[in-house]
């Protein structure tokens, strides 16, 4: 596979317990190829190892088994250049204003202030945060803080964008708007996107492929291709085949979630 942007082979992750606790086998083995420029979503029951998958893929944690390659190079214990991550939990810096937060990575990379300002202003404004540029994160609502974290990563224009339930705290309409913005950016920048989400319709609507994960330890049960055109937006939900995709995801997932709630 020559066009694989990132490659996971036999990736496993096991958390050691504290004290006498037994270890938790959280993930894998997972084999997955992320094609260059594709939009892939991952869905799976709560606690199945989605965030763990993102961690090892980004190089934030080492897998206990298996290898990860990004752009042909092994990922080991360090986040490679070109990857951008939005975390599930709020990780905005409370000591910086919204604007400073958003421009943080750029400033550290030594970009010229004028260019930073331009990029940040543009991003904040389509994130609906323009009028809060001088506020601090504590002054934002939960959803606004989540949008800030997305903005902070988007401004860096990563080649591989990893998003962990980035719209979890947003209302449905805002979610749709954000989804469309994300699609637009994805088209414009040609980036590869991996989106972890718990909204099946969102996964179905945005993605080229959707990976369905099993209950913990998470392995990939199904990989659904959507065959949407590249030039799509949220109106795709009215396509007849949309229902088929969500139905397939739903049927696979249903059983896993039940299992996961029962055994955990």
């Amino acid at each position: 596979m020559n066009d694989a942007h990132a490659k996971l082979r036999g990736v496993k992750r096991i958390y050691r317990g504290v004290g006498k606790q037994p270890p938790t086998h959280a993930l894998g083995p997972v084999d997955l190829d992320l094609k260059r420029g594709e939009f892939l979503s991952v869905v799976g029951p709560s606690g199945c190892g989605k965030s763990t998958l993102l961690d090892v893929l980004a190089g934030l944690a080492r897998p206990d088994e298996g290898t990860i390659e990004f752009e042909g190079k092994l990922v080991q214990g360090e986040v490679p250049d070109g990857i951008g991550v939005v975390f599930q939990e709020d990780s905005s810096f409370p000591w910086l204003t919204v604007r400073e937060n958003a421009g943080f990575a750029l400033a550290r990379a030594g970009m010229a202030p004028a260019e930073i300002k331009e990029r940040v202003d543009a991003t904040l404004s389509f994130m609906g945060l323009a009028s809060f540029a001088e506020s601090y994160p504590v002054q934002l609502s939960g959803g606004m803080r989540q949008r800030l974290c997305i903005a902070r990563t988007l401004v860096t224009r990563p080649r591989l964008l990893l998003l962990d339930e980035p719209f979890g705290a947003l209302d449905q309409q805002t979610r749709l708007l954000m989804g469309d913005e994300l699609l637009r950016l994805w088209r414009e920048t040609g980036a590869t996107v991996l989106l972890i989400t718990h909204a099946l319709d969102e996964a179905a609507m945005l993605s080229d492929r959707v990976a369905v994960m099993s209950a913990r330890p998470g392995v990939i049960l199904d990989l659904v291709e959507t065959d949407w055109p590249r030039d799509r937006d949220s109106r795709i939900v009215s396509e007849p085949s949309f229902g088929a995709v969500t139905a397939r995801l739903w049927s696979t997932l249903r059983g896993e979630s039940m299992k996961s709630m029962a055994t955990q």
């Binding site: 980004a58 939990e89 990780s91 810096f93 943080f104 990575a105 550290r108 601090y136 990563t153």
Partner: protein, 245 residues
């Protein structure tokens, strides 16, 4: 605000005066007597030289304490292994009575200015390092993960994430470190000197001159308090997050 400070000041002076009355002026010179003594000290043409001597050594020692302390603290706080290896050694070493290190200091720094500076730094480095370490260690893991995901270098993480995130602890460390460096410099001066505030203090102790002792102690406290207030003001300016919360 101002009023509160004045109130506290008045309270301190009150307690001081009362204690002085209680234990006798031969033991603790009362506030007025101390101020008068300070006036007389400043009137002495040699006093400026003593102050300058101490200030010089203190300034250098302070720079060393803060710089080395911060670096060590950041390094230990950021790296769990380094902390587990280093911290117990640091704390244990710190508890050695510094006086007994005098022969070692003499051996490495000789007699004079360098030894005083070394003594000052010796007192200051470790508290700065320990406070810094504690602050850095308790930084929310999520921020560090974000920083790593942004591919910040170790230095950038230290500067742009650890420092602002642990600012209150850092400033506390610097404040304690500053005061202790001053004390250390002074103790260094008590070992071998013919100038400096430590020398004056030693003379006053040996001659049983409580007025001078109290006056010098007050001067030192005023000095350290100013430094402390300055650092606090700096912290308030930098730490927006706390202002908001």
């Amino acid at each position: 605000m101002k009023f509160d400070k004045l109130l506290v000041l008045a309270a301190i002076l009150g307690v001081w005066q009362m204690t002085s009355l209680l234990v006798g002026v031969e033991v603790l010179t009362p506030p007025l007597g101390t101020f008068a003594k300070i006036g007389r000290l400043f009137a002495d043409p040699d006093f400026g030289g003593h102050v300058w001597e101490t200030t010089r050594a203190f300034a250098l020692a302070l720079v060393l304490s803060l710089a080395i302390g911060l670096l060590v603290g950041l390094a230990l706080g950021a790296d769990r292994l380094a902390a587990e290896v280093g911290e117990p050694m640091l704390t244990a070493f710190y508890a050695i009575p510094k006086v007994t290190l005098y022969p070692v200091i003499l051996l490495f720094f000789g007699l004079g200015f360098a030894a005083k500076v070394a003594f000052g730094a010796l007192h200051g480095i470790i508290p700065v390092a320990l406070f810094t370490m504690a602050g850095v260690r308790n930084v929310k893991p999520g921020w560090l993960r974000a920083a790593r995901a942004m591919r910040l270098t170790k230095l950038q993480i230290a500067r742009s994430v650890l420092l602002p995130a642990a600012l209150p602890e850092l400033v506390a460390g610097l404040r304690v470190g500053t005061a202790l460096t001053l004390l250390g410099t002074l103790i260094g001066e008590m070992f071998a000197s013919q100038r400096g505030l430590g020398y004056l203090l030693l003379q006053a102790m040996e001659r049983n001159d409580p007025a001078t002792i109290t006056a010098l102690a007050l001067l030192l406290t005023i000095f350290a308090t100013s430094a402390s207030a300055l650092l606090l003001a700096l912290e308030r300016r930098l730490d927006h997050a706390r202002v908001v919360a």
